[in-house]
């Protein structure tokens, strides 16, 4: 049951990334399923040779951006982002793993809007085959993401399906109760 957060859950996902009998059509194609680990993606793409340092610099810039504007990425409804660079046969690849509470296409559309609104570039510009007109062509950006999505074959949630907003509400409630108990002393 999706609402039973007390019961850890795991889901095995077919190779194609979708459950054929539950496939839902989204605006840009089939929606990657929500699992006990919420929505998310794992984008893996080859970087343009010699651009490694740009990734590290972008990571530092993003960290500074979020420190200065903590709600910078709020519209993406994220739980976590993890970025890696790794080597395969001498080539460098970038892996972008995100866990979030909106569907794949909306995440990408909102990400384009954040980059546009803040005048930021995207780290994706350092990837081979990334569309140069991404700022004005969200559809091309989304297609790139879909083409480079590496679907999970298993996802697990210790507190399955719980959104980041629900977690934040629970923590606020805990803080409110702590405060209440302090006031009762």
């Amino acid at each position: 049951m999706e609402n039973d957060w007390t019961k850890p859950a795991a889901v095995a996902i077919p190779k194609e990334g979708f459950f054929k009998d539950q496939e839902q059509q989204g605006r840009y194609g089939p929606i990657f399923p929500k699992t006990p680990a919420c929505y998310g993606f794992s984008i893996i793409a080859k970087i343009i040779p010699g651009h490694e340092e740009n990734f590290y610099e972008y990571g530092r810039n993003l960290a500074e951006g979020v420190a200065g504007t903590p709600d910078l990425l709020a519209s993406l409804k994220l739980h976590y982002l993890r970025w890696n660079l790794f080597q395969i046969k001498g080539d460098t690849y970038f892996q972008y793993m995100g866990i979030f509470d909106t569907d794949f296409d909306k995440y990408t559309e909102d990400a384009v809007a954040i980059f546009a609104a803040t005048g930021r570039s995207t780290v994706f510009e350092n990837l081979e085959g990334f569309p140069k007109d991404w700022r004005t062509n969200a559809g091309a950006f989304i297609k790139f993401m879909r083409d480079h999505q590496c679907p999970s074959f298993m996802e697990y949630g210790e507190y399955p399906y719980v959104s980041a907003d629900e977690i934040k509400k629970a923590l606020k409630l805990k803080a409110a109760f702590s405060n209440m108990l302090d006031q009762m002393q």
């Binding site: 605006r27 809007a113 700022r135 559809g139």
Partner: protein, 439 residues
Amino acid sequence: MLEFDDIQHILLERAPALAARYEFLTFRDAPGGRKWLNTIRQTVKSVAEIRAGIDDLRWVTVAFTWNGLQALGLDEASLASFPDEFRQGMTARAEVLGDNGPNHPDHWVGGLAGPDVHAVVILFARDVDERERCRIEHEKLLACSAGVEVLSTLDLEATPPLGYAHDHFGYRDRLSQPVIEGSGEEPTPGSGAPLKPGEFILGYPDELGPAANLPQPEILSRNGSFMAYRRIEEHVGAFRDFLSSQGQNSEEQEFVAAKLMGRWRSGAPLVLAPLKDDPKLGADPQRNNDFNYKEMDPLGYAAPLGSHIRRMNPRDTAANMNRRRIIRRGATYGPALSEGVPDDGVERGLAAFVICASLIRQFEFAQNVWVNDKNFHELGNERDPFIGHQDGTLEFKIPKRPIRKTIKGLPAFTTVRGGAYFFLPGLKALGFLAGLKSR
């Protein structure tokens, strides 16, 4: 600078009409279709012409489906340059739009679900007599336009009382519409700053920058737009029965009606009038849209998080709002159902055109993410109470101290009876299409 002399009036102007007629056409051969277009286009007025006119009695709009553009003989390269969602058409996008169950295209009327919908002629008329005169005129034109057939028609009339626009459920309408930069119109307080024209009119900069990825050739797309047509039946009897079951008296029932909408039926927003209706506020455009949610009602104690107006325009509680706005033009159809009278089974509802530069980014987003996402604002098991797909298993939650009220098993108050995606060309583009050569 907007080219007012080339933009079809419907994009920027709301005709003061009490009657309307939509005629859906099919082209059996390209030359016949182009000949018809070459005549009808003489009646289609630009924004500039409408603004200069003083005694207009009727306002005509012409638009085409992708199949219609193909049937007129547009070349393959141009056809391929249109966005995928428009090329596929509304029927193919049913799942994205939440058109399931009784709303599915399998149940649509007027031939709208099939591939023969090629064009729509939208007539707004000052009154029913003028509509009838225009109907006869168009009938004469069609009689001498070989290869052009009427697939279906819909007559529309303002529902009484006529002093203000409202739907069959009695809710005041047309309270929150975006304003386009450079249109000469001033937004009412609370409606936000004017939006870049490219959000609605092709060929102009949008909120992200210069226009891009437009249908080709440029003369075809410039000053054009896209329209999503929706014919939505309103089940007035079922709605009244539901309200009766939700309150002991009319005051309690009106309260629930207001909570579902986010406004009282008078138009007064719950954020500004949370406990009692304020009809003067509802009728005052300087005040009736002047509110936000983030600061004034973050938890939905006034307007519930899942109420219709909060879903259709989340204002300051959604990201990138300026990229999601839509313009709506339309009217009510079918006879009004008098108070206290059982439902007569006659179809009545709203039939409207949603205008935007990108169907996938604006109209489909609103349908998919705001109207039919069960988890909008973490609500868990709700869809839009009026236009979301309701199958009797969903809820509607009304925040209230100390404990919220949850209405379980919300019935469907509306059914989608038809729809289609249209391209609304500028006036020069109508001439371009009429002048196409046979392939």
